[in-house]
């Protein structure tokens, strides 16, 4: 009697697990491709967790994670070569303004965790201190506008800041020479500086509300959202579980990422993962949620600075509709 009960219980709970995981357990998992935005790093951990711990599988998906071309993955999503990609608010904004039907479907991190970093010897404590210093960037007009916004917002004189293109040179190499400050990700370069024992001053972009945009975000094309909303919901739900797992178990999540890319520096990945655990869902009711005002504000700011042409409808650029409730 007892045994039958146990068997029954196991059977029912297995069924429930399958049903809860999106059902259709007998069907073949649907193949889905997601393209990263950059070299594999801790921003992507949730995707690898969801893939390797079977969260995607439970949603009935067979997800393959691909690495992007140097010019980003938006084109691959638009052409239908990939269902999803990791992107950022700026790219989606430009894509929409240019008439491309891309949408952000989840924010990977709630706040902009990037900012301007300098070696502490430069004594750059606030944006006004950028005066007379050299900024090393990759030569995009947006960077200039960022630096200008911060300096002038702090009562400084932007014309006294020197802007020098340094290509893809990293923070440490650049600031060892003539460059004084660089735009970095707190969760990667900033953590690396800590590990290397290099003292830095860090001015986060998110201190200016207008610069606190979503980076990175997951994107899909409008067509897919209309044709196959179940697939989108399943994917986001799997990814959300992956990121929640990374929030709760940063060390284990770091191990999963390192298994996918053993070439990465272990110490850096683990430390970065611990930092991001506090950031993925910071201040949001659930992972991935985006606010309209963030999309409005940033696009408005781009326009005011003459950096965005074409018609941009913030409401069309993102949706929270597919997030698990």
């Amino acid at each position: 009697m007892k045994r039958t009960l146990v068997v029954l219980f196991v059977a029912v709970s297995t069924l429930a697990a399958f049903a809860g995981g999106g059902g259709e357990s007998s069907e073949k998992p649907e193949a889905v491709t997601v393209v990263l935005d950059w070299t594999i790093n801790t921003n992507h951990t949730g995707l690898y967790v969801a893939r390797d711990l079977g969260f995607f599988e439970e949603e009935g998906l067979d997800v393959s994670i691909e690495f992007p071309p140097e010019t980003g993955a938006a084109g691959l999503v638009l052409s239908g070569k990939a269902e999803f990609a990791v992107s950022y608010q700026e790219e989606v904004t430009y894509a929409r303004a240019a008439g491309n039907a891309l949408k952000a479907v989840a924010a990977v991190i709630q706040h902009n965790t990037s900012g301007f970093a300098s070696r502490s010897a430069e004594d750059i404590r606030r944006p006004r201190d950028f005066e007379g210093k050299a900024y090393g960037g990759w030569g995009s007009p947006i960077e200039e506008a960022m630096v200008r916004a911060l300096v002038e917002g702090d009562g400084g004189d932007f014309s006294k800041v020197k802007i020098v293109p340094i290509g893809s040179m990293d923070f440490f190499a650049a600031t060892a020479g003539d460059i004084d400050f660089v735009w970095i990700f707190r969760g990667w370069d900033g953590i690396a500086a800590e590990l290397k024992g290099i003292d830095i001053n860090y001015i986060p972009l998110a201190t200016e509300a207008v610069l606190d945009y979503y980076t990175p975000v997951l994107i899909a094309r409008d067509g897919l959202l209309q044709e196959n909303p179940e697939l989108v919901r399943a994917f986001i739900s799997g990814a959300a579980r992956g990121y929640r797992y990374a929030v709760e178990n940063p060390e284990e999540a770091a191990d999963i990422l390192l298994e996918a890319a053993p070439e990465l520096d272990r110490e850096l990945v683990v430390a970065s993962q611990r930092y991001l655990a506090g950031e993925y869902t910071a201040g949001a009711p659930c992972w991935g949620e985006m606010k309209l005002e963030v999309w409005e504000r940033y696009a408005e700011w781009l326009k005011e600075n003459g950096l965005l042409e074409g018609e941009f409808v913030p409401e069309a650029a993102f949706t929270n509709e597919f997030l698990p409730r």
Binding site: W38, I40, A176, A261
Partner: protein, 263 residues
């Protein structure tokens, strides 16, 4: 026997200066890094690079295999494609005039910006990377073969014509052998390009390969590993180069025999 022994000692004597220069360069490099206490992200010392290479070699091995496979597939494919185009362009002068400029154009395409399209056309598999290799290798092979075929000694052709040789015979016995030295110069250049082309393809978007390995090492600020990977790429390229030179000695044994008898 004695003669071949003296050839070996001669060759060692020939290479001694370059080996000594290389060794001296590495020693100076090491001393430079140590004396100035340079941080690794500015310039890693040879000892640090060697250590990274030894520790990472197991991890690198599958990446090396993938890169070599991509490079060789592209190299062989570019030889076939180039041979095909060279032959039809040689057969039909109109085609040569029509197509030759575009062979040059193929070399000027900035791959970085075309590559995303390759991914869309060919997907994420091997094909897109092989196409990059073909694109960089095609030019030197095609141009050297076309030029080789065009520059056959006219007197030699007249001689064969006088002996009533058929066009096919002239092609197989005079023009093609005459073009082989040219072809091999092109192949040697293509051999070094092929590994580089594969690495570029991987750097632009791939799952595995030395380009991926380097990108990941670079993005985690591990400069010694980047240099160790560069060293591996250099060695692999030299091995491919040596293989082509070996093939040249086999196919052009007559040329080397002539050289030896002259010297």
């Amino acid at each position: 026997m004695r003669r071949s022994a003296s050839i070996v000692t001669n060759r060692i004597r020939d290479r001694l200066p370059s080996m000594a220069a290389g060794l001296l360069f590495i020693l100076l490099w090491e001393a430079f890094c140590r004396l100035l206490g340079l941080a690794e992200y500015i310039l890693p010392a040879p000892s640090a690079i060697t250590a990274a290479l030894v520790r990472q070699f197991d991890l690198m091995l599958p990446h090396i295999g993938v890169t070599l496979f991509t490079a060789m597939s592209g190299f062989i494919l570019s030889l076939l494609v180039a041979a095909f185009f060279s032959l039809i362009m040689d057969l039909f002068p109109v085609l040569r005039r029509a197509l030759y400029p575009y062979i040059v154009v193929s070399q000027t395409v900035p791959i970085i910006f075309i590559y995303p399209l390759f991914l869309i056309w060919f997907g994420f598999g091997l094909t897109a990377k092989v196409v990059v290799v073909v694109l960089v290798c095609f030019f030197p092979v095609a141009v050297s073969l076309i030029d080789g075929l065009q520059n056959t000694d006219p007197d030699l052709i007249d001689l064969f014509r006088g002996m009533r040789a058929k066009p096919l015979q002239i092609f197989l016995q005079v023009r093609l052998p005459g073009a082989l030295p040219n072809l091999f110069s092109g192949l040697r250049i293509a051999a070094t390009y092929s590994v580089m082309g594969a690495v570029i393809g991987e750097w632009l978007g791939a799952q595995t390969g030395m380009g991926v390995y380097m990108m990941r090492s670079y993005k985690t600020f591990n400069t010694p590993r980047v240099f160790a990977a560069i060293l591996v790429v250099v060695i692999v390229s030299l091995m491919v180069f040596a293989a082509v030179s070996l093939a040249e000695r086999f196919f052009l044994s007559w040329k080397y025999a002539n050289l030896r008898s002259k010297s």
